[in-house]
Symmetry: C3
Subunit: 215 residues, 3 copies
């Protein structure tokens, strides 16, 4: 804890809180799809885990970074297992749609935090700007892509015409820009996350859609 700069302390802790909220929202989206497909407890735990950690893990494999988040923070794996066990007792199909709508909001936080953070990590692993921005897209998006591939659906991120990955792409350039003018880490990731989450919330409220192509 840095007493000399309370702002940094608040920002860092807000970041941690948002990261927790985002990870839980991603995990819940895995849990819901697993329930819809009537997977068993093993499938539920696996798909929930993939959805929560798959994007960051793929990014780290591509960047050749170790240890993975879930290796350093084993605690989170217990959370996932507890969620799945709890869901078996308490979640019923009538809850699914409500839960899905309710997690859209924390999910928007996760999108912002993980896209901005992923772009920053990739930039500081020496990636060129466009590659860093793509890593920022992969971090929050590929958990869901893995989830959909495993449950045998075309990834929703690829054909729902909602601006989601596209907003991570746009906001990633904000991170690249802030980093280029040497804004510090907390502020760069924080502002990047605010831009992306803000865009996502606006897209949800206004019902934005990606430009359609007429095949």
């Amino acid at each position: 804890m840095n007493f000399t700069n309370p702002l940094t302390w608040i920002a860092a802790n807000a970041n941690l809180a948002f990261e927790i909220i985002g990870t839980l929202a991603f995990a819940v989206s895995g849990l819901i799809e697993a329930a819809r497909k009537k997977l068993d407890i093993v499938g539920m735990a696996m798909v929930t885990g993939f959805t929560a950690f798959g994007g960051g893990t793929l990014r780290d494999i591509l960047l050749n970074r170790r240890p993975f988040f879930w290796v350093e923070n084993q605690f989170w794996l217990w959370v996932i297992l507890a969620m799945c066990a709890g869901a078996m007792f308490f979640m019923r199909s009538r809850h699914l749609e409500f839960t899905e709508r309710a997690t859209q909001w924390p999910d928007a936080l996760g999108l912002g935090i993980f896209a901005a953070g992923g772009t920053y990590i990739a930039l500081h692993s020496g990636m060129p700007p466009l590659v860093a921005v793509l890593m920022g897209v992969i971090t929050p998006v590929f958990g869901g892509v893995l989830r959909d591939v495993v449950i045998n659906e075309i990834p929703r991120a690829f054909n729902d015409h909602q601006p989601y990955a596209a907003l991570a792409f746009v906001g990633g350039w904000a991170v690249v820009g802030l980093d280029a003018v040497q804004v510090n880490q907390v502020l760069t990731i924080g502002l990047g996350a605010i831009v992306i989450t803000g865009l996502r919330l606006t897209a949800m409220i206004r019902g934005w859609r990606l430009p359609t192509w007429k095949v």
Copy 2:
């Protein structure tokens, strides 16, 4: 060969024999699904190879270990190719169901050996206990998961309500426990494998099922 301890020699050779039996059982399960989906010779070889080596390869990518088993033991790749060529001549659809039932037993050996071995390898790569146990689940299970993803099915391990991955998870903790009290490598993996294979055989004979959840 260690003349001072014939038990170690027997255990090590039993391990090798069971590893061969397990790998062949996994490969056969890939071959059968490839035949069911009427893949061509290329698809058969690929799916058979994925099923046999996919789980260990994914574990090694996650642990950043090289060389892979099939790089160090090129011989096994020739075995897979020979199996596929042989199957083209000798296997017919009337053989599939029989072969599948017959390979359930060697498959239980493979589950035990690879889960216990995978957990041990991960522990000694410095992974924390829960992560090591998960690597022990991934090693025997993800070959089949890859097989099912590629042939466009929801992974059987995730929705057949049979205790399989779950038993690898349970038995992995036996490996963690034995290793914590400094039992030697051969005994730790051996006892772990016996626990898991024993549980699996019991599950098959008794018809155990995973607790169902009522969505």
Copy 3:
């Protein structure tokens, strides 16, 4: 540029030109499938990118090589994005079949170049011959496999009974042979590519099919 040996200069530049042609052909095949599945612009860009770079990236992950082609040559990512944006404006369903047939020819060039190059790279990363040949198969083939897995189809390479991966396998042994007798790099890859592309063109013209198995 090597003025002492114009042949090497020509070969190296032909290699580059063919690499560009091959990458574009792979990318177009991703674009076409994305269009067929009516993916949105995000899905189109992702599937096009996977198809173009997925095989080489998987090879490099397996060989633990960095940086990836698309990290070193960021320019190519812009090309993919530009292709997708252009396709949204100009491509219509009536173009798909024609484009697919037209790209068969440059695709055969890509198959040769990337299979021969992939085998050579793997050999010189210390892989044993059979593993190197398999890496040569993975390089041009797994982009398409990833494409098909993501759009929820059984990979065409595994069940269309066309000699494609099988020819990369055959030609890979030519590369292994030439390298064993210490032919230089340019000639080894060049001759290997000519063998594979020649076989592929012959297969296309003569309508060769893989031996069928009667399940």
